[in-house]
């Protein structure tokens, strides 16, 4: 970073504090410094590759969530960006500047830790002022910035408390304020909401989104909570065993998963095992299930062969529908009904082997009459069907 950059950023800081008027100038500055590039990032721990050749470009101002089960390497990626773990190979650049070997204190990134890592012996004000003091800002600037950020996270009354006297949600906001107060171009969040209860978590998801919209900061969020990823992000990156398996917008990933892993990890899915075969009477392929059902395969997947799994989302299945040309339909029996409040979940046995789950909105008149054991028809559109080949047999 050149001294000119520092100065220009300084001006931006002052401008932003005024009002929203100067948003454009600020956004421009962010677009220079807020883009993140990972190329071939690899981390080995004693021969095991926790992160394996991860390359990623994140645009300035983007809200990206890295999603994956535990042990997928997502936190390690975040820690390498933060500078708290040294990459074994690869490079990290922020705002076009290579920071791979820079110490964390020189990276100018905001990090919110899973445990918040608030300093227990410092008051809220002192915690938030800490990064400013480390940057040797003058006292009046510090006071003003701390006051502003406390307003932003809606905690102005708690300035003199110590973290031990705050609730989990309040601690979360202080951690956020502390990571944002020095206007970092990029904010890293390590499972920021995992310690909160469900209600609070959902509220915070919206608040984070709003904050992101207002500040225009690039956010990289790491989580194993798929609903959090879908709700908050512009883009979701799914990792498994240290590699990126798919990335895209939440709807893209949900609607068009490229693997059964992604389909299974995001939302709930029905998987029906079987083999893709050519029909005797036509050119069309279909999937013959273990239980002997013959399901049609969508046009795009016609070329597939071998052992495969058919995936269909429970909410895309219709109960007792009128069959149309594009719809598959089967007759089954209700094996179980679960009432979850907003949704009713049915398990329908199509035969001894194939059981699928169907979820319906809990709306009056919307629900089929029936109880366990009664016969129903299930139907779905062919465009909602995904086929994942497991092994090709020939």
């Amino acid at each position: 970073m050149t001294s000119a950059d520092v100065v220009s950023q300084g001006i931006v800081l002052k401008e932003r504090s005024g009002s929203q008027v100067n948003r454009t100038a600020q956004d421009e500055s962010k677009s220079k410094s807020g883009c993140v590039q990972l190329s071939g990032l690899t981390k080995e721990y004693g021969g095991i590759r926790a992160v394996d050749d991860v390359s990623l470009e994140i645009a300035a101002g983007e809200f990206v969530t890295v999603l994956g089960p535990s042990g997928s390497g997502k936190t390690t990626v975040l820690m390498m960006i933060a500078g708290l773990a040294e990459p074994s190979a690869g490079a990290i650049a922020i705002g076009g500047r290579d920071i791979t070997h820079l110490r964390p204190q020189h990276r100018n990134l905001g990090v919110v830790f899973q445990s918040y890592a608030l300093f227990p012996h410092l008051t809220v004000t002192e915690n938030i002022a800490f990064p400013l003091r480390m940057r040797r800002k003058n006292e009046s600037d510090i006071c003003r910035k701390v006051r502003e950020i406390l307003d932003l996270v809606r905690l102005p009354d708690l300035a003199q408390r110590v973290p031990g006297e705050l609730s989990g949600g309040q601690q979360q906001r202080v951690a956020l304020a502390r990571a944002l107060v020095f206007d970092p171009p990029v904010l890293l969040l390590d499972e920021p909401l995992s310690a909160l209860d469900k209600k609070l978590r959902e509220n915070m998801q919206f608040e984070l989104r709003e904050l992101h919209r207002n500040l225009g900061v690039t956010i990289i969020n790491v989580t194993h909570d798929q609903s959090e990823a879908l709700v908050m992000s512009d883009r979701v990156i799914i990792m498994r065993d240290g590699r990126i398996v798919q990335s895209g917008s939440p709807s893209e990933l949900y609607e068009h998963p490229k693997s059964s892993f992604v389909a299974d990890f995001l939302g709930t899915s029905n998987f029906v095992k079987g083999e893709v075969q050519k029909s005797r009477d036509s050119d069309e392929s279909s999937l013959v299930t273990v239980g002997g059902l013959r399901c049609r395969v969508p046009q795009a997947d016609q070329g597939l062969k071998g052992q495969a799994r058919l995936m269909i989302r429970p909410e895309r299945i219709v109960l007792n529908a009128v069959p149309t040309a594009t719809q598959e339909h089967f007759v089954g029996r209700i094996a179980e009904i679960a009432y979850t409040g907003d949704l009713i979940r049915y398990r329908v046995a199509l035969n001894d082997q194939d059981v699928i789950e169907v979820t319906l909105q809990n709306k009056p008149g919307h629900l089929p009459q029936g109880c366990i054991g009664s016969e129903v028809t299930v139907g779905w559109s062919l465009e909602d069907v995904h086929i994942f080949v497991e092994s090709t047999t020939q």
Partner: protein, 598 residues
């Protein structure tokens, strides 16, 4: 209801053996000291007035406090990096460091004093090496003066600083440091802002522990200090042995007891400062944790103003990459300190096998002649046998009295339990010399001086705290509901203890017995006063040896003692771990309180 009362009285009955020992031979003599301090006839405060008016008294008091203060300060400076290195090290390195800290702790004070005399003496290793290298012409005076006293005392006290410090540092979440770094703090700033304030309770606990142990020191200053390096306890001894001024000695003892008592109270409170919301906790937080923060904030304010014109300097700093390995300085410092801790023991061990008649390091030839010399001389073998006898009897006695007492204070619920516990533990804290002179006075009247039995009883009192602490820890970790389960199946309380609890406690009891054995085997002060010619123990013989001759035989004995002690401590430690699955902190409690007897 009735059975409950019976049970309660039954549990209190387990304290009877301890009471029969401690009341006449520990509390009564100490009370006698108090009464003697108030004058032989009637009550007068004359002795106390002399205490605070006599310039010699005041000078020695000031000197003792000054020594203790400097020793504590040196221990913090040397020990803090070691504790910090322990905190950030891997598990394996941490175990190595712990072992290196405990090794000297397990070695007798006499052996270590002797090692330093050999190393620092006029013809010692340091002087010999420096002369050979041509750096100095005249040998430096490093021992038998204040320098020697500081070196020896710091060597002894350092573990008592490092262990509470580590305890306190281990409670700090290391992620706070990562957070500080991402917020822009350099490692050094992160240390002063985060680690230091949060470890303040540990620093204070360590300081208090070292200070209060140093105030009561006797053996080491007498061996390593110069003629003018007189400590308070040495002055007490002088009043009795040379001037026969019991009244004044008693007053001095009471004063020292009060000081130690107050420091102990503070120490106990500071150890669990997180839990305490009292005035002391608030003071520690406000003064010692918040104080440095306010200083730092002011420093930053001033620097921000000064540097306002040099905005670009910050920008330059932003460029620096990872060039120096993390914590390099801390690691180098720690290994250097640890090397100094262990080196004297190794030197002594090598010298024991020297083939020469004078101590030269490294030895020019090796032999076992000094071991042979030891076994051929009655004036060494007899005290060694006496020591063994006393130590074995002490171990047996301390177990027989201490195990029931520990059971009573862990399982029982009766009024005065806190006081009973405090009394049982207190011999660990009372300065050894004060207990020794109080018992010396009593034994003199009872004609018990110079008897084996008298010495054993004294040693049992010294060893009792270790047995009680160890066995209590074992009992607390042993599941009380198992005993209850046995009783629901029809076993009486005694039978339940015998069948269920005792087998679970066996490793703990073995460990406690070894500790008791070593307490007796290491003791100098009590034996100096209580044993006559016929019951002279090995430490007393060594004390005389170190004071009047520098003989390689002592190195040979020291080597054997080191092997025996370290071996036994390993057995005790290993067996206690098997019993209670306690790791280092549990062990720390026992070791940390060890300081009181030095």
């Amino acid at each position: 209801m009735l059975s409950r009362i019976n049970n309660r009285i039954g549990v209190m009955g387990l304290l009877v053996p301890a009471a029969l020992l401690l009341l006449p031979l520990y509390l009564y003599p100490l009370l006698e000291i108090v009464s003697r301090s108030l004058g032989d006839k009637g009550w007068s405060t004359g002795n106390y007035l002399e205490l605070f008016q006599d310039p010699v008294m005041l000078r020695v008091l000031y000197q003792t406090f000054k020594f203790a203060f400097i020793i504590s300060a040196l221990c913090v400076i040397l020990g803090y990096p070691v504790a910090y290195a322990m905190r950030i090290a891997s598990d394996r390195t941490r175990r190595t460091i712990t072992l290196l800290i405990l090794l000297p702790l397990w070695t007798s004070t006499l052996v270590r004093a002797f090692a330093w005399i050999v190393i620092l003496g006029r013809n010692g290793i340091v002087n010999a090496t420096l002369t050979e290298l041509g750096i100095i012409d005249e040998p430096l005076k490093l021992v038998y003066n204040t320098v020697g006293l500081y070196i020896g005392m710091v060597h002894i006290m350092l573990p008592f600083m490092v262990l509470p410090l580590y305890n306190s540092l281990s409670r700090i979440d290391l992620r706070l440091l990562s957070a500080a770094e991402t917020l822009g703090a350099r490692p050094i700033s992160a240390f002063f802002w985060i680690v230091l304030p949060l470890s303040m309770p540990g620093v204070l606990a360590g300081l208090l522990l070292v200070f209060m142990s140093s105030v009561g020191m006797f053996v080491l200053p007498a061996l390593l200090g110069g003629l003018s390096d007189i400590t308070y306890t040495m002055l007490i001894e002088k009043q009795i042995n040379e001037l026969n001024n019991w009244g004044l000695a008693a007053a001095m003892s009471v004063f020292l007891l009060v000081v130690t008592g107050i420091l102990t109270l503070f120490y106990g409170r500071i150890l669990n400062i997180e839990a305490s919301s009292g005035i002391l906790g608030e003071v520690v937080r406000q003064v010692f944790q918040r104080g440095p923060i306010h200083l730092l904030i002011w420093r930053e304010r001033i620097l921000a103003r000064l540097l306002a014109s040099h905005g670009s300097r910050l920008a330059n700093r932003m460029q620096s990459a990872r060039l120096v390995p993390r914590h390099l300085l801390v690691k180098c410092w720690s290994w250097a300190v640890l090397a100094c801790l262990v080196a004297p023991l190794l030197v002594l061990f090598l010298l024991a096998f020297s083939g020469q008649a004078f101590l030269h390091f490294p030895p020019r030839s090796y032999s076992i002649r000094w071991f042979a010399n030891f076994f051929s001389r009655d004036d060494w073998v007899t005290p060694a046998i006496t020591s063994l006898k006393v130590a074995i009897l002490t171990a047996i006695g301390a177990i027989l009295i201490g195990v029931p007492a520990a059971y009573a204070i862990v399982r029982g619920r009766f009024p005065g339990k806190g006081i009973a516990t405090a009394i049982l533990i207190s011999p660990m804290i009372v300065p050894g010399l004060i207990f020794a002179i109080s018992l010396y006075a009593l034994y003199g009247r009872l004609n018990l001086l110079g008897t084996l039995g008298g010495l054993v009883l004294g040693h049992i009192i010294l060893a009792l705290p270790y047995v009680v602490v160890t066995v209590s820890a074992g009992l607390k970790s042993a599941d009380a509901s198992l005993e209850a389960a046995a009783m629901t199946m029809g076993a009486g309380p005694i039978r339940a203890f015998w069948i269920v609890t005792l087998p679970m406690l066996r490793p703990t009891i073995i460990s406690a017995a070894f500790l008791a054995f070593l307490t007796s085997f290491d003791d100098v002060i009590l034996a100096l006063f209580l044993s006559g010619l016929s019951t002279k123990t090995l430490p007393v013989r060594m004390w005389e040896g170190i004071r009047y001759e520098i003989d390689p035989t002592i190195a040979a004995i020291s080597a054997m003692l080191m092997l025996i002690t370290i071996g036994l401590k390993f057995v005790a430690e290993w067996s206690a771990r098997r019993g209670t699955k306690s790791n280092i902190p549990g062990f720390t409690a026992i070791q940390a309180t060890d300081a009181g007897t030095r």
